[in-house]
């Protein structure tokens, strides 16, 4: 064990602040208080956004900031802990957003010596930032502006260093498409909420990084032991083989059977051809395995199309959500076209979930006669039409035509512009397009979506009790007790994303605060981190701070909801046939369990209990009850 000196263990101890307006960079020391209260990753970003982004700013203005953070375990030998987080005020939702990416970028950023990069301002002309250990340069990106992410990557790595890692935006981000993603050099994405548009608005094409350092570990021996146990547990994990073989695609068909994977824009008519989503069919496309830094699961699959109009595509790969957003929700069971759509989204830099849901929204409007060909630029939007779907992906990314430009604003805004009752068919929560879960079929999961601090996201609120049955099996139809479970999974994920652990391992309970505290203390030597209860507290603190950000932006009770059809239209198919989503009861319980008032604001008592005294002070301006 090393003797604790003034330097950091686990952390690199530095924050890189990039001011694009003045083309200046500043290296700031990592603050001890920030680390002790927020640990890393998602915790860092939540605190920086709260402190540095005033309420009411335009997310696409230079006042917005993009925080890219890593955690104390990023770049260490701890398994599945090297992801990175993008946090910003979302141009899609107008509230707080956190979007997590994988691949190798996070580890490389740490190797370059930084725990976090804070990007602010706006460059006069397109630039990219080249971080080569201590040397940071602003470089001209005019030549790559307009390029897709793959072409840009090749160009940028050629111009900097072949082995460097990068986060890049494509044409969608440049065009300020509100559902634009950030894409890594290895085609992983931080996609939700429009982080690509934030980069685009700053004229920032990419951040390229190369590092040669390593985080120093407080107790190598103890960490080594714990990781050995982790690897052993992975090997004995009953889901490991299936997960490695097919990643989340293993679950696609089953999700439909559970009543999720809602077809036809949540109309939930039976999906003819759903058998195409069986694991054995999807497995037939797999030609390779990929993964993130320091993760033996390697759940990423390379899919290859060998026949039909999309033959020749080999791409890492539509995950469960993408099979839905370009498949189920559009009534499309043509797997090859879903692979093609996934590839297009990665190249243009688009969120696959939001893009597909936006197209489904327009398709239902067309089906119902609310919009016609004059508004779709002559396209006939039909369920299951793969060619039209791919055309729409392009039009959204490039803001082509009336409908492309409209859907580029996101589903909520598009519905507001169209009017004529279109909002009824816009499947979003707080402006974020919904994922492949139907709240009518799983009440705790629905509650998690309704109360998400970034909008309708499964990633920050995945009810493993109801879905997987871990740590214990809970009936998804029951309403009672679901508030406690929603809080549990939300706080747990917030805590684990400080590492930055992968959500998939948290969802399976392979990562949890008990295990995390062990490796976290060994890596950092920080006494408080020894106690899993402290990590739970930090998780709750982060969630409340995120909520406080939203409340400051005007979020209240009426926004914690789901699209009206899920409240009013009974589910038409098994297993939840006849059910609706019981929002009022669930929400009342949730506010009580959270210690929030009836408007959904964290109370002063709760904030003080969580050590967020200054937050309580600021929310008081919004008439906070005592």
């Amino acid at each position: 064990m090393k003797k604790k000196v003034d330097s950091w263990f686990g952390y690199m101890g530095q924050v890189l602040r990039v001011d694009l307006t003045h083309r200046k960079c500043r290296v700031e020391p990592l603050q001890k208080e920030l680390v002790e209260n927020f640990i890393g990753g998602r915790g860092f970003g939540a605190k920086i956004l709260w402190d540095e982004i005033p309420a009411g700013i335009d997310p696409l203005s230079p006042e917005n900031k993009l925080v890219i953070s890593t955690g104390p375990l990023t770049g260490t030998k701890v398994q599945s802990a090297s992801r990175w987080v993008a946090q910003f005020k979302s141009p899609l939702t107008g509230i707080y957003c956190r979007s997590v990416g994988g691949g190798y970028f996070g580890a490389e950023l740490k190797f370059a010596g930084y725990d976090m990069v804070i990007v602010e301002g706006k460059a006069e002309r397109p630039v990219y930032v080249w971080i080569d250990d201590d040397k940071v340069e602003f470089k001209n990106a005019t030549k790559v502006w307009g390029m897709n992410t793959l072409a840009a990557r090749d160009f940028l790595l050629e111009e900097t260093e072949k082995g460097a890692r990068a986060i890049i935006v494509g044409p969608a981000g440049e065009n300020l498409v509100k559902v634009a993603a950030i894409v890594t050099d290895d085609s992983r994405t931080a996609a939700r909420g429009g982080p690509g548009a934030v980069m685009g608005s700053k004229n920032l094409k990419a951040i390229v990084v190369k590092g040669s350092k390593k985080p120093v570990i407080y107790n190598e021996e103890a960490l080594g032991e714990a990781v050995k146990e982790q690897i052993q547990a992975y090997r004995q994990w009953s889901h490991f083989k299936d997960f490695h073989e097919l990643g989340t695609d293993h679950a696609v068909y089953l999700w439909y059977t559970f009543g999720h994977f809602p077809p036809y824009n949540f109309q939930q008519r039976e999906l003819a051809g759903v058998e195409r989503f069986r694991p054995e069919v999807l497995a037939s496309y797999v030609v390779g395995h990929k993964g993130c830094y320091g993760c033996m699961v390697r759940c990423g699959k390379v899919f290859k199309v060998t026949k039909g109009p999309y033959a020749g595509i080999a791409w890492e790969f539509p995950e469960l959500e993408t099979h839905w957003s370009f498949g189920g929700i559009l009534g499309n069971c043509n797997i090859e076209s879903i692979i093609a759509a996934n590839m297009l989204c990665d190249l243009y830099g688009l969120d696959t979930i939001s893009t597909g849901v936006a197209i489904a929204f327009a398709t239902e409007l067309y089906e119902k006669g609310i919009i016609g060909k004059s508004e779709t630029d002559g396209l006939e939007l039909k369920w299951g039409d793969a060619e039209v779907m791919l055309e729409m992906v392009k039009r959204i990314a490039l803001r082509m035509g009336n409908m492309g430009n409209l859907l580029a604003e996101g589903t909520k805004r598009a519905a507001e512009i169209i009017g004529r009752g279109a909002e009824k068919y816009a499947m979003h929560i707080k402006g974020l397009e919904m994922p492949a879960y139907d709240p009518r079929a799983m009440k705790g999961q629905g509650l998690g979506l309704a109360t998400g601090t970034i909008g309708g996201s499964h990633a920050i609120s995945w009810n493993k009790f109801e879905i997987l049955g871990v740590p214990k099996k809970v009936d998804p139809f029951i309403v009672e007790g679901k508030a406690e479970l929603a809080k549990y999974v939300q706080d747990e994920m917030a805590a684990c994303e400080t590492a930055v652990f992968c959500k998939l391992t948290v969802n399976h309970n392979m990562t949890n605060p008990n295990f995390y505290s062990k490796v976290l203390y060994s890596a950092t030597g920080i006494e408080e981190f020894k106690d899993p209860k402290y990590l739970w507290l930090v998780g709750e603190r982060i969630w409340n701070l995120e909520r406080a950000f939203d409340v400051r932006e005007g979020i209240e009770r009426k926004h914690d909801t789901v699209p009206v059809r899920l409240l009013k239209e009974a589910m038409p198919r098994a297993p939840a046939k006849g059910q609706i989503f019981e929002l009022d009861k669930l929400l009342k319980d949730y506010y009580r369990v959270r210690g929030w008032d009836e408007r959904g604001s964290p109370t002063k008592k709760k904030l003080v209990e969580l050590g967020l005294v200054e937050v309580a002070g600021e929310l008081e301006k919004k008439a906070l009850p005592t």
């Binding site: 299936d242 997960f243 989340t248 696609v252 089953l254 959500e321 879905i467 099996k473 969802n507």
Partner: protein, 87 residues
Amino acid sequence: MKVLAKFVGSPYKIVGVSDIWLFFDKDEITVRELLNKLEMERGVKFTLESDNIVILVNGRRIEFMGGLDARLKDLDEIVVASIIGGG
């Protein structure tokens, strides 16, 4: 009566087919009876003990329908699947 049994993921690999119709001389059976039939006729055994296997009747986990005593009627659908989390 007849029941459609579907095998998804690793159960598919074990049984070797994706779907089979199973026929019974009764109007109603339990999941236990169906699993016994599978064991006798196909030599495959599925239990509720394995934490990566789910058994669903018309999409609902049988744990919430009485476990192995859950009832099946004519034209019901049973799914035996390996489950992993999405994300």
